[in-house]
């Protein structure tokens, strides 16, 4: 009963942070800042949703498998973000900070 309540709180919070990531993806100005928004969904939302799911299991092998999925997601999703950001960087996409300082220089 108590476990179910805690699990509900975790699931709702997780859903909230997943939504936050999605909203941030639209709200933030450029590619790199958007990756930050997406990483909210990658990290905290994943942790909260899986903790919520784990509390709903019977604490058997299913629990262990959920823990494995959580660990692998936490290892792979930053790697994917890094791969995206790195290829953007190597494709010479400027960050908004750099674009700003460049326009300032052009104006002066």
């Amino acid at each position: 009963m108590i476990l179910e309540m805690i699990s509900n709180i975790f699931l709702i919070l997780g859903a909230f942070f997943a939504l936050t990531g999605a909203v941030g993806l639209f709200k933030f100005p450029d590619f790199f800042t958007r990756v930050h928004a997406a990483s909210v969904t990658d990290s905290i939302a994943t942790i909260l949703l899986f903790s919520g799911l784990i509390l709903r299991t019977e604490f058997d092998l299913v629990t262990v498998k959920l823990v494995f999925v959580l660990v692998f997601l936490l290892l792979t999703s930053p790697t994917a973000s890094h791969a995206l950001a790195k290829s953007a960087r190597h494709g010479l996409l400027a960050t908004s900070a750099e674009t700003l300082s460049k326009t300032n220089k052009d104006n002066n």
Partner: protein, 165 residues
Amino acid sequence: MTNKMITHLTIWTITLSVFWLLLSGFLQPLLLAFGVFSVALVIVLLQRMDNVDQQPVKPALGLPIWRYSLWLIGQVIGSSVNVAKLVWLGNKALTPAVEKLPLTDIPAKNRVLYANSITLTPGTLSIDIDDQHVTVHALEKASIEELKAGDMAHKIAAVFGGKAQ
């Protein structure tokens, strides 16, 4: 084969067997035989590859990695709340910044963990890594200052007993 090599492979065998058992949960002889076969295959491959690159890597299962993970989850929660605030309260407060942080204090095999931890923490993103530096993009300048203070770097250097190297 030296003694060190044998202990190394034994540790991996035990880890992989436990992993296989937890994933499968079946104890019929046929399936167990499949499990034994796949663990043996991986161990043979591991031994051959260690011979080629001469850099055997131990599975990190000790206390330090757990302590570090707990600390990292704390960091993730803190910075997530921060980024969530930035998302919901308008984007005027954004001060994106890019900076190169030195990697020289961190042993080579811990660098992946460092770059991955930076990316996992919302608000900071590792966008490039080379022999001396990791390039970090941050939503706010303050997060870069925090990384520069070196709290995370020190903790990571200690995870695999890096201080001895």
